[in-house]
Homo-oligomer: 103 residues x 2
């Protein structure tokens, strides 16, 4: 099938693990009505770094993920499960778009 | 409660995310009866580096995790789900040990 220059590149909207983990951490922090400064302070990470992690600009190390989870009183396993769900939702959405484009 | 010097340190056997992701990748590779060299070559990573990832010695970046998953024909979401299950199993085991020690 010839590609349409108006179509998005197939990989461009595929979320990375760092994107979905960042989303999960930000959503949880916001649902707790807490500031970046508050969580960053408790996790002993700079506000700027936590902000970059939440936006998927930086990879989060295992140790830092634990520290942020401790601050949010969230299990690391729960973060991985929520991140996996977000990846699957994104994947399903792309499959439907591909199906509709092909139809 | 006074700590018993024969008890393991409470945190020492807590698996890190990098440990359980490494375990999942190694188990999947072994279940496919494939070598480190084979998967490392396909994922364009050094054999040594993949070995360190599998043993939880190195953090795996989102991009490298995708590349290894592509080689293993395994969804990234599936890796996160399996890793979360391993974290929960480890957590349950530690809770039971603490309960038995306290009883």
């Amino acid at each position: 099938m010839a590609s349409n220059p108006n179509d998005p590149a197939p990989e461009s909207d595929t979320p990375k693990v760092r994107d979905v983990i960042g989303d999960v951490l930000r959503e949880e922090r916001c649902s707790q009505d807490r500031t970046l400064a508050d969580v960053a302070g408790e996790a002993a990470v700079s506000l700027q770094y936590l902000s970059e992690i939440e936006r998927g600009r930086k990879e989060v190390s295992s140790d830092l993920l634990e520290a942020v989870c401790d601050s949010l009183e969230l299990e690391v396993a729960e973060v991985l499960e929520r991140a996996a769900r977000q990846l699957r939702v994104g994947s399903d959405r792309r499959s439907r778009q591909a199906f509709m484009l092909a139809a």
